[in-house]
C-alpha cells in the first residue's frame, strides 16, 4: 500500500471510519430518475473513490469455513462483486457459487438492523447501551457454571477474545457446534495419522478412492480440492488420475467419478477391509484382521459385485501413490469411527502416508487455531439444557433449533434457559426463541482474523476487513460486541482499545516480527497486511505420527431388515445450501442442485426400482416417517441412489430467517433420530430409518432439466472417451 502512496488514513476514509464516503446514501436505481433524490457530486472525493472506477480490496469469505480469500470489487463505496484472491493457496483466485452469493448476505433485505428485546411475542427495539446493561444485569449473581456459550467454529483473535470473555465470567461451557462437521473423520485421522486434518494431495494421487467424501461439492475445502482435482485429471506423472467414489447416494463428486460404486449404507468399512484383503499385500495383524473379509462375504454385505472389488484392488495396486478418503457418507453411523478407521487403514496399507497424505502446517499460535465445531457439543449442551443447568445462554453463528435432530427436542429444552442472547444476522429459528437479539455486521462490513481448519500449503492467517461502510447504522461486529462485554468485566485491561479494529491492529502490530514484518515499521506492516489480506507464516509442521493399527477395529454385521422402517434415510448436503445458514440468499435458491436440477424446494430421491415397487412416480407428494416424526415432500426418481435408501437434502424447510428461505421445502433434521457414534459421541446423521408412503397428491417438480429427464437423446451432445491410459498434460 505504501508503494502506491495509499496510507492508512485514506484507507479508513474509504472504509468509512473517518466518516467520509458521501455517495453512499440511497442507491436505488430509479430514485434519481423519479426525482426523489438529487445527484450531488463530490466536493472533495476521498482517495480511491473515483466515480466509475472499481477498486479491489482483499478480505476473507465467510460463507463457509474453508477460508477462501476474496477480492471484493468496490465502486462508489459499494461492494459489487467478489472474486477470489489469487495470492491465497487455498482458492488461488477461484470462487464457488456459495462464496459468490456473499454479497447477497450483505445486502440481504431480511438482515437484522436493531437490537431486539423480547416483549411477549414481539421484539422491541432497544439501544445498544440498554442491551449491554441488560446483559450485565442478567449476569449478576449468576455463576460461571450457569452460563453457556454456544457458537459455530471460531478462530483467530475472535477466539482469543471470546476465551477471555468466558474466563472473565468464570464460564467453561463453550460449546462449539457445527451441524455438518467431519467430527468422526477428524478423530479417526488423529488416530491414523496423528493429526485431525492432514493435507490430502489429490493432485499427486494417481487413483483417488473416496468413501463418500464430496470434496468437489461440500466437503472441508471444496474450492481448493476442485483445483487439485483439475490437475489430477490432466495428469499425475503422465497418467490421467482415476476417481472412484463409493457411496449410497451420489454426490457431485460421485457424478464426476470414473466409477461410482453404490454401496449398502453403513458398510463402507467392510468394503475397505475387503479391498485390503483383495490387495493381499498386508502381513501380520492387519492380514489377520482382514482375513475374514473375502470377496464373497464383502460382496454379500456391501452389495458391491465381487468383480468390482477386484478391479478396485487391481487399479490401486497398479497405480501408486493413491489416496483414500473417508467422508460424510462413511462417518454417519453409530460405528462411523470404525468405518473411518478401516478406510484410513487402506492409506497405510497402500503406502500413501507421506506421499498423498501429508503433514499439515499449523499456525504457530495455538490460541488462534480454530476451535472446530462438532455435533457432540450439541448433545452435551442439550443435556445441560434439559437438566436446567443454565440460566444464561449466548448463541453466535449457530442455529440449533433448525439443525438439531428432532429427537433431541432442542427447542423445548432451550425454553428452560432463563435468559437467551443471540448474536445474529437474521431472525432465524434460534434467534426467534431468544430474549435478546443483537444484530451483527455482515462479513463484508466486519474486521477479523480467521485461521482456516484446512491449510492448503504453508500456514496462513486470513484477514477480514470491511469492503464498505455499514449498510445499517445499528449493527455491530461480533468482535466489537465481545470487547464491549469484556469492558464490563475487565475495564482496566481493555480500556485502551476503542474498538475491535484497534484491538486487532494492536494485536497484529505487536507481534509483527512473528508475522514476518520485522523489517518494516508498524504503519507499513499494517497496511501491507490489509493489502494482501493474508498473513503467510513460516508455520510449524505437525509431522504425521499415527500408525496402522487394527486394535479395536470391529465392524458390525449389516442391519437386519426392519419391517416397520425399511429404508435408510440419508440427509444429503446440497452444494450451495449446506447446513441452511445461507438459505436466504436467492442466487443459491435459484441455483439448481447439480444432480437433480431442482430449485426452490426440497425433494426425496428414490431409486426408480424402489419407486416402482411403491408405486411412486415423479412429483408424488410422499410422507417420510421415522420414529421421531414425519415430513412431506415431492418424490424425484433418481438412479444415483441405493435402492435401500432415500435421501432428502438439508438446508431447506426454514420456518423463519427471511423471505427467500421461509416456507420453502422441508427440514430433514426434524425426523432425524438421535443416534451417536460410539467412540466420538458425534451425531450419526445416517442412522435414521424411515418408511415412505404416498399421500395421493402430485405436483410438477420445478427443475431445470427437461421433461425427458436429461437423457442424451440421439444427438451426440457430449461423447465420452474411454481409455486405459490417457495423459492430458500435453494438451494446451
Amino acid at each position: 500500500m505504501m508503494d502506491s502512496g495509499f496510507d492508512r488514513r485514506d484507507f479508513l476514509k474509504v472504509m468509512g471510519w473517518g466518516g467520509a464516503a458521501a455517495a453512499l446514501s440511497g442507491c436505488g436505481n430509479t430514485s434519481i430518475e423519479n426525482g426523489k433524490e438529487t445527484v450531488v457530486s463530490y466536493v472533495e472525493a476521498a482517495d480511491y473513490v473515483i466515480p466509475g472506477i472499481g477498486v479491489y480490496y482483499n478480505s476473507t469469505c465467510a460463507q463457509c469455513d474453508a477460508g477462501c480469500s476474496i477480492n471484493g470489487r468496490v465502486r462508489e463505496g459499494r461492494v459489487l462483486k467478489l472474486e477470489g484472491n489469487p495470492a491465497s493457496a487455498i482458492n488461488r483466485g477461484r470462487m464457488c457459487g456459495l462464496g459468490q452469493a456473499g454479497v447477497q448476505h450483505h445486502y440481504n433485505p431480511d438482515r437484522l438492523r436493531e437490537p431486539l428485546l423480547r416483549n411477549g411475542d414481539k421484539g422491541e427495539i432497544i439501544t445498544w447501551e440498554k442491551a449491554y446493561a441488560l446483559i450485565a444485569e442478567k449476569l449478576k449473581g449468576v455463576s460461571g457454571e450457569e452460563i453457556a456459550f454456544l457458537s459455530g467454529g471460531v478462530s483467530g483473535h475472535l477466539k482469543v477474545l471470546l476465551g477471555n470473555y468466558l474466563a472473565s465470567l468464570g464460564c467453561k461451557n463453550h460449546f462449539v457446534y457445527e451441524a455438518l462437521a467431519p467430527g468422526v473423520v477428524r478423530a479417526a485421522n488423529k488416530k491414523a495419522y496423528g493429526v485431525e486434518m492432514p493435507r490430502y494431495n489429490i493432485s499427486k494421487a494417481k487413483v483417488v478412492l473416496s468413501f463418500g467424501a464430496d470434496f468437489l461439492g461440500a466437503w472441508v475445502s471444496p474450492v481448493h480440492f476442485s483445483q487439485q482435482y483439475a490437475q489430477f485429471r490432466r495428469s499425475v506423472d503422465g497418467q490421467r488420475g482415476v476417481l472412484i467414489q463409493v457411496e449410497p447416494k451420489m454426490t457431485l463428486t460421485g457424478a464426476n467419478a470414473d466409477r461410482w460404486v453404490p454401496i449398502r449404507p453403513g458398510t463402507e468399512g467392510v468394503l475397505a477391509l475387503g479391498i485390503i484383503n483383495a490387495l493381499g499385500t498386508s502381513t501380520g495383524e492387519i492380514a489377520a484382521a482382514v482375513k475374514g473379509y473375502d470377496r464373497a462375504r464383502v460382496s454379500k454385505e456391501t452389495g458391491v459385485p465381487p468383480g468390482q472389488i477386484d478391479k478396485i484392488a487391481a487399479i490401486l495396486k497398479l497405480r501408486s501413490p493413491s489416496l483414500v478418503l473417508a467422508g460424510g457418507a462413511a462417518e454417519g453411523y453409530a460405528h462411523g469411527s470404525q468405518n473411518a478407521a478401516a478406510i484410513n487403514l487402506l492409506n497405510h496399507v497402500l503406502g500413501n502416508i507421506g506421499k498423498t497424505v501429508e503433514a499439515t502446517a499449523a499456525v504457530p499460535f495455538p490460541q488462534m487455531a480454530p476451535a472446530k465445531g462438532n455435533t457432540a457439543a450439541l448433545k452435551s449442551l442439550n443435556d445441560g439444557l434439559a437438566a436446567g443447568k443454565y440460566k444464561v445462554l449466548f448463541n453466535y453463528a449457530a442455529n440449533p433449533v433448525f439443525t438439531a435432530p428432532g429427537a433431541l427436542k432442542f427447542k423445548d429444552n432451550l425454553a428452560k434457559v432463563g435468559f437467551k442472547v443471540a448474536f445474529a444476522h437474521y431472525l432465524d429459528e434460534t434467534a426467534l426463541h431468544a430474549d435478546l437479539v443483537l444484530p451483527l455486521d455482515s462479513a463484508l462490513e466486519d474486521w477479523g482474523t480467521l485461521v482456516p481448519e484446512y491449510m492448503a500449503e504453508g500456514a496462513q492467517i486470513n484477514i477480514q476487513q470491511p469492503l464498505m461502510e455499514n449498510l445499517h447504522p445499528n449493527t455491530r461486529g461480533i468482535g466489537d460486541i465481545l470487547l464491549a462485554l469484556l469492558k464490563q468485566r475487565r475495564p482496566e485491561e481493555y480500556k485502551n482499545y476503542e474498538d475491535y479494529y484497534a484491538y486487532l491492529r494492536t494485536a497484529l502490530v505487536q507481534n509483527k516480527t512473528a508475522f514476518g514484518g520485522h523489517a518494516v515499521d508498524d504503519e507499513t506492516f499494517w497496511n501491507e497486511t490489509l493489502t494482501k489480506g493474508i498473513v503467510k507464516l513460516p508455520g510449524t509442521t505437525a509431522a504425521l505420527s499415527g500408525r496402522a493399527g487394527v486394535a479395536g477395529l470391529k465392524l458390525p454385521a449389516p442391519v437386519e431388515n426392519d419391517e416397520q422402517y425399511p429404508l435408510q434415510f440419508i440427509p444429503s448436503v446440497n452444494i450451495s445450501l449446506r447446513d441452511g445458514r445461507n438459505s436466504n440468499q436467492p442466487w443459491l435458491q435459484e441455483s439448481p442442485d447439480p444432480l437433480t436440477t431442482i430449485v426452490w424446494d426440497s425433494w426425496m430421491e428414490i431409486h426408480p426400482k424402489k419407486a416402482a415397487e411403491l408405486g411412486i412416480v415423479e412429483g408424488d407428494i410422499v410422507e417420510v416417517t421415522s420414529r421421531v416424526g414425519s415430513i412431506k415432500t415431492q418424490a424425484y426418481l433418481f438412479p444415483g441412489i441405493h435402492p435401500d435408501a432415500i435421501s432428502i437434502p438439508i438446508g431447506q424447510g426454514h420456518e423463519a430467517m427471511g423471505r427467500y428461505a421461509k416456507g420453502y421445502g422441508v427440514n430433514p433434521f426434524q425426523i432425524m433420530d438421535a443416534v451417536f457414534d460410539r467412540e466420538t459421541g458425534e451425531l450419526a446423521m445416517h442412522e435414521t430409518r424411515v418408511r415412505v408412503s404416498k399421500t395421493g397428491q402430485r405436483v410438477i417438480i420445478v427443475k431445470d432439466e427437461s421433461a425427458a429427464g436429461a437423457k442424451q437423446i440421439r444427438e451426440k451432445i457430449a461423447a465420452r472417451v474411454s481409455t486405459d491410459n490417457v495423459d492430458l498434460s500435453k494438451e494446451v
Binding site: 436505481n29 462483486k81 457424478a255 487399479i315 449498510l471 430449485v599
Partner: protein
C-alpha cells in the same frame, strides 16, 4: 427493415464471419470449456448472476420456464440408465455441460430479428441491443441452444427481485433490462470493452489473460478459457489449433475419424452450421475400472 430490403441484401444479413469486408481484426472472442475438468458445481452460473444483473425469478416463474440463467449447467445421464434392461445405476457418473450463448458466427437468431436488435460485432460477438428490441422473441425461437432469455416481467419493479438493499449490488457497468426485452450471455462485453479501451489508449491490443469472463474467473477447476482467437499466442487459439477445430468449418478433423481419437474438441450442433465460438473438450472416462 423491410422484406424487400432483406431479400435484396440477403448476403449482408446471412453470412459467416469473417468476410473480407468485415475481418476479425484484431479481435475474435472465443471460448473453450473442458468438460473433463468441469465438475458441474454451478459457480460459473452464480458468478454470472453477480456480474450481469440477472434477476432471480422465484419458484413460480422458474416453473414456467422463465429462469434467466444466461449460463446454465446441463447434465446428462447415459441413455440406458434406469431403463428397462439397462444399467441399474449411473455408475460412470453424470456429464455436466455449461451452456450459454455460443456467439455463433452465422447466428440463426440474427437473421430473424425484425428490427436488427441482435447482430454481429466486428470482434465476433453476437450482440443484443436492448433498446432496439421489440420483444418479438423470434430469435429465441430460432436459437438451437435455447440460451436466449426473455423478460416477461419488469423485474426491477417486481417484488423481492431487487429490494432496495439488493439493488445496491447491481453492477453499474451492465444495464438492468426492463420488460419485453430479450437478453443472453454477452461474453461479459462490459469487461471486454474496458480491456479494449485500456489497450487502445496504450497503443496495443488486449493481451491474453488480460480479460476474463465472470464464469471463467470463478471456475474452481479452471475448465473455462477465454480469449482472442485471432491472436496466435492466446490459449484459446492454441487450444483450437491443437484440437484441429476451425471456426468456419462445419466438419472437423475429429468428425472424419470413426471411433477413438486423440482429439477431444468439438462444437455443439455443428452440423446446423451456426459456426459457434465455443469449443468443448469431451469428457474422458477410465475403462479400466
Amino acid at each position: 427493415m423491410s422484406i424487400s430490403n432483406l431479400l435484396e441484401n440477403w448476403s449482408q444479413f446471412r453470412h459467416t464471419h469473417p468476410v473480407e469486408d468485415k475481418p476479425h481484426d484484431p479481435y475474435k472472442w472465443a471460448m473453450t470449456i473442458d468438460l473433463d475438468a468441469c465438475s458441474g458445481c454451478n459457480a460459473c452460473s452464480v458468478a454470472c448472476y453477480a456480474e450481469n444483473n440477472l434477476p432471480v425469478v422465484g419458484k413460480e416463474k422458474y416453473a414456467h420456464g422463465q429462469a434467466m440463467h444466461w449460463m446454465r449447467i446441463e447434465h446428462y445421464w447415459d441413455e440406458d440408465v434406469g431403463e428397462e434392461g439397462g444399467r441399474e445405476f449411473p455408475d460412470q457418473g453424470a456429464q455436466f455441460l455449461p451452456m450459454m450463448c455460443q456467439q455463433c458466427e452465422a447466428a440463426p437468431c440474427e437473421t430473424v430479428c425484425p428490427v436488427g436488435a441482435t447482430n454481429h460485432t466486428p470482434d465476433g460477438l453476437n450482440s443484443q441491443i436492448y433498446n432496439r428490441c421489440i420483444g418479438s422473441r423470434y430469435c429465441s425461437a430460432n436459437c438451437p441452444y435455447k440460451v436466449r432469455y426473455f423478460n416477461w416481467y419488469d423485474y426491477p419493479s417486481t417484488d423481492n427481485v431487487w429490494p432496495a438493499e439488493m439493488a445496491q449490488q447491481l453492477n453499474p457497468d451492465v444495464t438492468v433490462r426492463g420488460k419485453g426485452v430479450m437478453e443472453k450471455c454477452t461474453f461479459c462485453v462490459q469487461r471486454l470493452a474496458e480491456a479494449k479501451v485500456k489497450a487502445k489508449s496504450e497503443g496495443r491490443i488486449v493481451q491474453d489473460g488480460e480479460v476474463q469472463t465472470a464464469c471463467q474467473q470463478a471456475c474452481p477447476t479452471s475448465a473455462i478459457s477465454f480469449g482472442n482467437l485471432v491472436d496466435p499466442e492466446s490459449r484459446v487459439h492454441r487450444q483450437w489449433r491443437a484440437q484441429q477445430v476451425e471456426l468456419d468449418k462445419d466438419k472437423q478433423a475429429k468428425d472424419e475419424k470413426e471411433g477413438g481419437t486423440e482429439l477431444r474438441g468439438y462444437r455443439i450442433l455443428e452440423n446446423m452450421r451456426p459456426y459457434p465460438s465455443v469449443m468443448y473438450l469431451e469428457r474422458v472416462r477410465e475403462s479400466a475400472i
